[in-house]
């Protein structure tokens, strides 16, 4: 497993940040930044 860290930018009406983070949990990677934006 590589040790690349993860930055997550989510979108409220797309895939929100916490949902992406949940999907990556099993990978064991470190999430260094996570944010969800709302463009409306």
């Amino acid at each position: 497993m590589d040790d690349r860290k993860v930055i997550i930018i989510g979108e409220r009406d797309g895939i929100p940040g916490p949902t992406i983070a949940e999907c990556l949990e099993a990978s064991g990677r470190e999430i260094v930044f996570q944010k969800t934006e709302c463009f409306v």
Partner: protein, 478 residues
Amino acid sequence: MSNESKAYIHSATNILVHVPELVRYGSKCHREVEDSGESFLHALNKNLRSFKEVVSYPPNQAFIGNLNPDKLDKKSKPWFKNLLEGSSKEGVFGEILDQTTFYMLLKSADDFELFLLDSDFINSNNNYSPSAKKIFNEKFLNKGSKISAIEENIQLKGSLSIENKGELVGCFQSDHEKDESLDARILLENLSAKASGAFALNRMLVQDSIDPLSVEYIISCSEEAIGDRYNRGGGNLAKAIGEMVGCKNASGMDVKAFCAAPVYALIHAASLIQSKVVKNVVVVGGGSLAKLGMKAHFHMEKKMPVLEDLLGGVAFFLSSDGTAGTPYINLEIVGHHPIGSSSSPQEMIDSLVYKPLDKANLSVFDIDKFCVELHNPEITVPAGAGDVPLVNYKTIAALGVMKEKLTKEGIQDFILDKGMPGFSPTQGHIPAGVPYLGYAIKALKEGSFKRAMVVAKGSLFLGRMTRSADGVSVVVQV
């Protein structure tokens, strides 16, 4: 449920206020002007629309009740290039207000002399909207200022310049040197919400012949943070709006829930009526100055006019009076998004649409129209924000396919039948399902609809207190 315990929704009003020369004070444009200086302001001013263009813009006609949104997609696109000649600023359940009149309303809303307005400007204009003129405050309007005093104020205090048709007509000042909550831009934002909210409320009262003195309670669902340094979001814009409109017998409070506030406000209003705390409630939402010109940069890049030049406003009247054919807020079909639920689109739609309908032994096919977030896609798509209503409808349909309630082949027809194109300005809380209520109330009364479901979402994560989103829904029916 007996007739006596229902909260009937009688009236809906949608207003728009064209404020091209306040776009510069929207959050994004203000920051762009600070970073890029006069060059951005110059570019902005070259891409603003005229009042006539705004009135003739098809989504705006849909917003004020003159063009059913179902017919909007049949109009030639792009809409900003295919204006509807001969359109009226008066709508079946709304109105579009010009900037000159709004400055008079802003001055009329101003108890603390924050807004200095040129006396020549005040005295030289006429032909105002009757709904607006009715709430002009002559005492405040008699306190006009000389242009020389306005110029001096801008120079010495750094007050905000307020222009009309390219000419300086006023300035907006801060109220405290050491209180950021009373900074000029924040106060302008707050007062704009008050003035546009008051216009929406008064327009509704006049439209449906409701005596302001008969209003018992007001709930504001506006987007602002009225307060001072010791309580930055203290609020109660509701009472300020009610005072301006003459609702002397009413009390009120604010609902704060990001963009979902209007639907929460309707549910809370209905709950107050059904539990007999009050006999009637007005729900009102003023416009969001902060959101003006949010996507101006993208629009100008794509050679479009700046489409976010409008403050929006809504007002609704609910009461315990009604009969069998009167639409009511059905508090037995309310969707909530629990704290423990994920904020994925599927989970949100499941919580807000499928769970409450399942609980009521209804299906999505028992709803005639889903009123989701109705942002105008012509505003959002060029900025990369997508077509928000369409995304919501596709998610409702797709989840229905996963739950085997509809077929994959039926998705398009479902969206056409139960959905609609977006037509609301991107004013945050304003597009949150409620702009369609004027049409829904008419269809419910006429018998062509049985139920409409209003679905709203809120981006709580923007406040940095939770990473979660939020949403709420309710059914309006006969």
